[in-house]
């Protein structure tokens, strides 16, 4: 019990440090990026004076990068995510509807991807047909080699699939590769050879002797693929014009909208931290059961 509590505390501390470092890094990177205190409106002959007055006011308000970071952290502790520079509204107002869109997209893609990957990996791991093995290798290689933005652009222009299909395809390829490796190792276990020799039906063998003992390892792969999905969200949402959090992060980065960018970065860091912790505990569970 004490060991578990200590482990949890350590993980929380690690997560907290990750969030603090991610937010500080974001503040420094964005504030030091060229063009932080500028907007395209400055080039507009009609509105430039008005825009420049607003920029000067913002400069005076924000102070140094460290002050900006402390101000943001202070606001965060009071549940205030700040105000978007670009839209002049509370970041939470901006973020909530977009999180819903992104969440739906993630769910739609991340749920079937591991199932599909498993369905493809099972026959590849159980049979030794050379053609199937070659196809599996080629598909995996192609899936890894093609950048997600290229895949998304091709899907958009051909009209063959939507954003969820692209995300699912990408996740399936990644999951497939890990599943195949795990299943191949598992299928070589001596007790499986014995069970086969005894005439245990194939489906029963797959369910009780392969999948059930491996569930924690498979789940940890799925957890990791959620992290991959988060990184793929930005290009997919931008290319398909999906009004989600990924697209918002892109627009915020293009327009140096620090409060929005900070919030999205923190959310992503939180997801990655939680996923990492979950994966670690799943692996520990798997080791203990072994």
């Amino acid at each position: 019990m004490i060991v578990r509590f200590r482990r949890l505390t350590l993980h929380c501390l690690r997560l907290f440090s990750l969030l603090a470092l991610a937010s500080l890094g974001t503040v420094l990177l964005v504030r030091c990026a060229p063009g932080y205190f500028t907007t395209a409106g400055e080039l507009d002959a009609q509105h430039s004076e008005h825009v420049q007055a607003l920029i000067l006011a913002q400069q005076a308000k924000e102070g140094s990068p460290l002050q900006t970071w402390l101000h943001f952290c202070g606001g965060l502790l009071q549940g205030n995510l700040g105000r978007s520079h670009q839209y002049d509204v509370a970041v939470s107002t901006l973020l909530m509807p977009r999180l819903r869109v992104t969440g739906k997209l993630l769910l739609l893609a991340a749920l079937p991807a591991p199932l599909l990957a498993l369905l493809c990996a099972l026959p590849c791991s159980l049979t030794r047909t050379p053609a199937l093995q070659r196809w599996a290798a080629v598909a995996t290689l192609a899936g890894f080699a093609v950048p997600v933005s290229v895949l998304a652009s091709a899907a958009l222009l051909s009209g063959l699939g939507g954003p969820a299909a692209v995300l699912m395809g990408m996740l399936t390829v990644r999951d497939f590769r890990f599943f195949l490796r795990l299943l191949r190792r598992q299928s070589k276990a001596p007790y499986l050879l014995y069970a086969r020799a005894c005439g245990v039906p194939q489906l029963r063998l797959i369910w009780f002797n392969i999948l059930c003992p491996m569930w924690s390892q498979l789940l940890s792969v799925v957890t990791l693929s959620c992290v991959t999905a988060l990184s793929a969200l930005i290009p997919i949402e931008v290319i398909f014009g999906i009004p989600g959090a990924g697209q918002m992060a892109w627009t915020a980065a293009m327009n140096r909208d620090l409060p929005v960018l900070l919030t999205v970065t923190l959310l992503m860091a939180l997801c990655i931290g939680v996923a990492g912790g979950l994966q670690q505990s799943l692996q520990q569970g798997a080791r203990a059961s072994a």
Binding site: T38, H50, Q86, P112, L156, A164, M168, G241, M248
Partner: protein
């Protein structure tokens, strides 16, 4: 066992099918839908300072006078009549009778006064207030129940344009376009997704048959910056309008839908300029090149504008030799144009000021090779092509030119703050035919005097003359006096080439064939100027 296996397999396959069918989130249906390329910065009509917000204001705002985007002349709107005193300092407007806001409440002269005062209030910082020159000194009152009087400290040349931008809102609750006196009102706004505009059932305007306008019941403005998504949705019939079409997409849109239109030269310009800022972090010999009129003229003479229009814009642009587009017939001057391409003359001009060739490389009098970079924004294909073509043209003079693409904020930082660049290639969007809209570009003390901004006193005699002419055209009473000043400005710019004008990109737009009653205009918004009379074919108003 087979049935179980089938069940096992079918569940993920059904999920996969569902995923392939899933596309973007569903959006509400509308009579007309199109894309806004950026989120409107605000819905408060007084604070509009970007293109998207201007489109929303055009569709929703009830204004006293409306500048007809096609004829470019002011027309009565909420005000049925207006008078301007001989000295141009007193304006009296008479409101129509029986006006109502979109929520049914009456629109009174008090609402008008309150809206005007709000715009002129320094605390609101409305960009349109600058049009009144001294907004604090403007007095607004109501001499009668339907009369509004504006007393101006100075004559305002673009008064109609200013009034065209002031939305009349309910005095008790300015409502950010949800309660309006214009043709539409904002019904729903999903940030980052779309704006849904609902027809104003109390709009004052009727057609010749007495039917209330607008005909269209709902408009949806999707917020998407991705031009490919916009084009695909238009060709698939999900959008009915494209306010602008890129030259690269034009032929495809025309071929697939038959609804693409090339309206000819727009008011917008594409130009190249050299950094002449005195304290720019550049070597002194480079500053000397850029300050040399002969150097700038030679560069201008070496650039083949026809090739830029033909290759970079797929023939959807008009070569430019001056700052006023030939589409602006009121102010364009044939005499105020820069000389056309002439490589021999360009070489002679460079030779005359000490430049010479060492092998194939051009060097200045002190032996410095002429090498410089041109900065531009990334993501604009036509501009990138133009930069490459210009570099090739200048190679013929022995100059080595590199094109550098920067993201927009980094580019603005260099142009407006650090001045760390040699030459820049950029465009200027002109939203008005009146040259006074460009006053900030020509006035040497302005931050938008790009080649040498915010000067304390004019650096050159010709910039001093430009300052005088800019002020003169803004205050002159008659058209002839203003035209004389503007013609002289065009001649100075053509001779001194602070901006080397390259092309006027053509105004390209697209309207679905099922939309009727469209009128196109060079002034923004291009396809929406007749929004009140637009309708879908086969749909009864």
């Amino acid at each position: 066992m087979t049935a179980r296996a089938f069940r096992l397999l079918s569940t993920p396959l059904l999920l996969v099918v569902q995923v392939f069918r899933a596309t973007a989130p569903a959006q509400p249906p509308a009579d007309l839908a199109w894309a806004l390329h950026a989120e409107p910065g605000t819905l408060d009509p007084a604070k509009v300072d970007d293109q998207s917000a201007e489109t929303v204001r055009f569709l929703t705002a009830g204004v006293l006078l409306r500048v007809n985007r096609v004829t470019q002349q002011p027309e009565p709107a909420l005000a049925e009549h207006w008078d301007v005193s001989a000295d141009g300092r007193t304006v009296t407007l008479r409101l129509r009778g029986g006006l109502r806001f979109s929520d049914g409440s009456p629109l009174t002269a008090q609402d008008v006064v309150s809206s005007l005062r709000r715009v002129l209030d320094p605390a609101i910082a409305a960009p349109v207030a600058d049009e009144f020159l001294q907004p604090r000194a403007v007095v607004v009152d109501t001499p009668g129940p339907r009369l509004i009087r504006l007393q101006l400290p100075k004559r305002v040349v673009s008064l109609a344009k200013a009034l065209d931008q002031i939305a009349i809102e309910p005095a008790s609750h300015p409502a950010a376009a949800s309660v309006t006196a214009g043709p539409f009102a904002v019904a729903k706004y999903h940030r980052g997704e779309y704006l849904l505009l609902q027809r104003n059932a109390f709009h004052w305007k009727h057609d010749s048959a007495g039917r209330q306008l607008p005909y269209l019941k709902q408009l949806r403005l999707d917020i998407t910056s991705n031009r490919d998504v916009e084009r695909l949705r238009f060709t698939r019939g999900q959008y009915q309008l494209m306010e602008s079409v890129s030259p690269d997409d034009f032929e495809q849109v025309a071929h697939e839908t038959g609804g693409a239109h090339d309206l000819g030269a727009s008011l917008n310009t594409e130009q190249l300029w050299f950094n002449q800022v005195a304290d720019a972090p550049l070597p002194s010999y480079e500053k000397a090149w850029f300050e040399s009129t002969a150097f700038r003229q030679a560069v201008s003479l070496a650039i083949h504008r026809n090739d830029l229009a033909r290759i970079a814009y797929k023939s959807h642009a008009t070569p430019a030799y001056g700052f006023i587009s030939p589409a602006n017939r009121t102010w364009f001057s044939e005499k105020g144009q820069a000389p056309h391409e002439d490589l021999t003359r360009a070489e002679a001009q460079l030779h005359a000021v000490g430049f010479h060739r060492v092998g194939r490389q051009l060097v200045d009098g002190a032996g410095h090779p002429v090498r410089f970079s041109i900065v531009t924004n990334s993501g604009n294909h036509s501009r990138k092509l133009m930069g490459t073509l210009i570099a090739q043209d200048l190679q013929a003079l022995g100059m080595q030119v590199t094109l550098v693409e920067l993201d927009f904020p980094a580019l603005v930082d260099r142009l407006m703050h650090t001045h760390d660049y040699e030459a820049a290639l950029l465009g200027l969007s002109n939203v008005d035919v009146d040259p006074s809209a460009m006053a900030n570009v020509w006035t040497s003390s302005s931050p938008n005097h790009q080649w040498n901004p915010s000067q304390k006193s004019p650096a050159t005699p010709w910039e001093a003359e430009l300052d005088q002419l800019t002020a003169a055209q803004a205050t002159a009473v008659g058209y002839a006096d203003r035209k004389r000043a503007v013609d002289r400005m065009q001649a100075i710019v053509a001779e001194q080439q602070p901006f080397i004008y390259l092309v006027f990109p053509n105004q390209l737009c697209a309207v679905a064939t099922g939309v009727e009653g469209t009128a196109f205009s060079l002034l923004s918004p291009t396809t929406l100027s007749a929004i009140e009379t637009m309708r879908r074919r086969g749909v009864q108003p």
